[in-house]
């Protein structure tokens, strides 16, 4: 009689850190997406002041996010003064949601691991 196959263990779920997106995960870029997610459009100078950045620094991060299709840069006029407005795309909103979810999973996993570790210490 043929042996029945041994039950195989399901593969462990991928570590949540693997779900973090390098483009979004950068601290300043994550903050940019967070501010934009709470408003329809945000002026360049408002975002710069809110995050205490220089024009050049903010520009560099905006270029990365724009190239990834996560935000849109809109040139407009406030009266006669030219102004730049920023708007999150649908893709950007989804990317931010996924990033925050991955971070929350990571925190939950590490918290559980810490708790297991503490239990082990108390037993020994």
């Amino acid at each position: 009689m043929a042996d029945s196959p041994l039950p195989t263990e399901p593969p462990p779920p991928p570590h949540p850190a693997l779900a973090l997106d390098d483009v979004v995960h950068q601290r300043v870029r994550l903050a940019i997406l967070t501010v934009l997610s709470e408003t329809q459009e945000c002026r360049f100078s408002t975002l710069r002041d809110e995050l205490s950045l220089t024009d050049g620094n903010l520009n560099r991060h905006l270029r990365v996010l724009e190239q990834a299709g996560l935000l849109r840069v809109i040139k407009a006029y406030d009266g006669r003064r030219p102004s730049t407005w920023l708007r999150l795309t649908r893709q950007g909103r989804a990317a931010l949601r996924a990033e925050v979810a991955a971070l929350e999973q990571l925190v939950a996993r590490l918290r559980a691991a810490n708790a297991d570790h503490a239990d082990g210490d108390s037993v020994t």
């Binding site: 903050a31 967070t34 997610s37 100078s45 408002t46 971070l103 925190v107 590490l110």
Partner: protein
Amino acid sequence: MNPDHGHATQTLTELRWLRRRTRVRAHGGAWLPALGIAVLLLASSALYRRPFASTYGISVDSPYWAGLPDEQRDPLASYLFWFLGTPLLFAAVGLWYRWRSRSSGLRVAWPLFVSTGLGILLLLAVLAAVPQQQPQQLDALNSSGGHFWLPGLLTPLVPIAAAVLVLGWAERSRALTVAGGWIAVLTVWLCGWAPMGYLPGWATDLLGGDLTGPLDGVPNTLGGQIAWRPGIWLILMSVPLVAFAAARGWQSWRVSRYG
């Protein structure tokens, strides 16, 4: 503590703080449209012949230009009140949001709120202009309860309810969405069934007759009429908007004063 754990927790905490701060700054102006709509609703009680005093009989014409199916002072005045008052209010709200976006650098999707309200108001005017064979007449004493759907919904309260719902979405406010839903439910109920305040059979079954009796003064009346006058209903419609405006205005004032 694991350093990764600390870093991720700190990042999440900072993001939550930034999100809350931006939300308060971006949506701090929602108190004005909410208050404006509440004032418009309350002011419309002046359009009725007896907004608060009880009466033995009323004659109502559809469409209900005053808003609710009750006797109005002058249909033309009611028509002008809503068809001039609503665009004027929305224009003031538009100016308010433009000023706020210039000063704060944060924009809200207010044009959708304005276009929804004005679009449905225009649609209402077009639908009301469709020739009818016979004007719908109601007499609260003689008519029997029943539903009225389309003629009942030709009321300026429908665009107001829709606009508040969209404002709730634009301002990311659950309270405003609930306020819009509340106005919509009351409007559909009060204008969709005749006479005003009539409880359809399923509703009386649901309530078991316990509510209708005390409210209309007749104990254990099933399928009866809740004999509240239009002024009371308009106050009830406005209460959530006034409460929201007070809470949001206070919050906005605190942020502008203390940061």
